[in-house]
C-alpha cells in the first residue's frame, strides 16, 4: 500500500484510476499486443524486401537458387503465424486439450503436405506425365 501511495504522489495526473492488479494486466497486454504488431509489421517489410533480392546468393548458397527465397519466405510466414496464434489467439493461455485440438489439426495438415511432396518430389509423378507452365498459358 505504501508503494502505491508513493507512486501516486509522483503522478501529476490525478485522474488516473487507482492501481489494481487487473488494470496492470490490461496495460501490460496492450504493450504486448503493440510489440507483437510491431514484429508482424517488421517481418512483413522483411519478407517484401527479401522478394527483391536473391537470398541464396546473399547467404552465399547460390546453388539453392530460387528455393532459398522460398524457404526464407516461408520461415518468415511461420514466424508471423506463430506470433498470431501464440499471442493474439491466446494459445499461451489456452487449456491443454484445446491446444491439442488445434495442434492435431496442424499435424494432419503436415501429413497432407508431406504425402503430397512425396508424390511429386521423389516419385516424380507430375514430371513424368508432363506439366503446363503456370503463368502465361
Amino acid at each position: 500500500m505504501t508503494s502505491r501511495e508513493n507512486s501516486l504522489a509522483f503522478t501529476a495526473d490525478t485522474e488516473e484510476p487507482p492501481f489494481t492488479a487487473e488494470a496492470d494486466l490490461g496495460h501490460s497486454d496492450i504493450v504486448l499486443y503493440a510489440e507483437v504488431f510491431g514484429l508482424l509489421a517488421a517481418l512483413t517489410v522483411l519478407t517484401v524486401t527479401m522478394s527483391y533480392v536473391n537470398v541464396g546468393a546473399a547467404l552465399d548458397v547460390p546453388q539453392l537458387g530460387r528455393s532459398a527465397n522460398i524457404i526464407a519466405g516461408l520461415l518468415v510466414a511461420f514466424a508471423k503465424a506463430g506470433l498470431v496464434v501464440w499471442i493474439f489467439m491466446h494459445m499461451n493461455h489456452e487449456t491443454k486439450v484445446n491446444r491439442f485440438v488445434f495442434i492435431f489439426a496442424l499435424c494432419l495438415l503436415g501429413t497432407f503436405f508431406v504425402a503430397t511432396a512425396l508424390d511429386f518430389e521423389w516419385l516424380g509423378t507430375y514430371v513424368v506425365h508432363g506439366a503446363q507452365a503456370l503463368v502465361g498459358m
Binding site: 519466405g73 506439366a131 503463368v135
Partner: protein, 197 residues
Amino acid sequence: MSDAAQHHPILSPAFHKDRRNLRAMGMWLFLGSEVMFFTAFFGAYIVARSASPGSVAMPLERMLGALNTLVLITSSLTMALAVMYSKKGDRARTGRFLALTFLLACCFLVVKAVEYTHHFEDGNYPSHDIFFGFYFLLTGFHGLHVVGGMITLGILWFRNRRGDFNKDYNDPIEMAGLYWHFVDLVWIFLFPALYLL
C-alpha cells in the same frame, strides 16, 4: 457481482471458465476444419507450382499485397484489443475497437477490389492461366471469409451496444476474435505464396 451470485454454483467463476473453455474447443475444432479447407486449395497450388517448368515471375502488385497485409495485421491488433476490453467489461472501448476492426476489413476489401479491377483490365481472368485460376480461387475464398467476419463483427457491435456482454460473459467476442485472427493467419501464408515467392 453480488454475494448471492458469487456463491451460486451455476454463476460461479469456475462455471464461466468451463463454459468459455468448451466454446473455445468448439471454435478450435471449427478452425481446424477451416485449415483443411484452405489446405486443399493451397496443396493443389503447391503441386501446380512444383510441376510447372521454368521459373515463375509473380505477376501481382507486391505493394498492394503488402499494404493489405499491414491492414489485416492492424485489424488483428484492434480485434485483440476489443477482446481485451470486453473481458474487462469496458463496453465503450469494446464497441470502438470492434468498429475499427470492421473498418479495416472494409479497407482490405477495397484494396482487393482495386487489384481485381486491375487484373480484369489486363485481361487476367481466372481462365487466363493456371496461376490466375489459383489466385482467384484462394483470394476469393479468403475474401468471403473476410465478409463473413465483417457480418459477425457487425452483429457483435450491436449486441455489445445492447449490453449483451459483460466481464463474465464475453465468449462470442472472444470466439469471433479467434476466427478473425485465423483469417489474418490465412493471409499471412497467401501473401508470400501468391505475391512474393
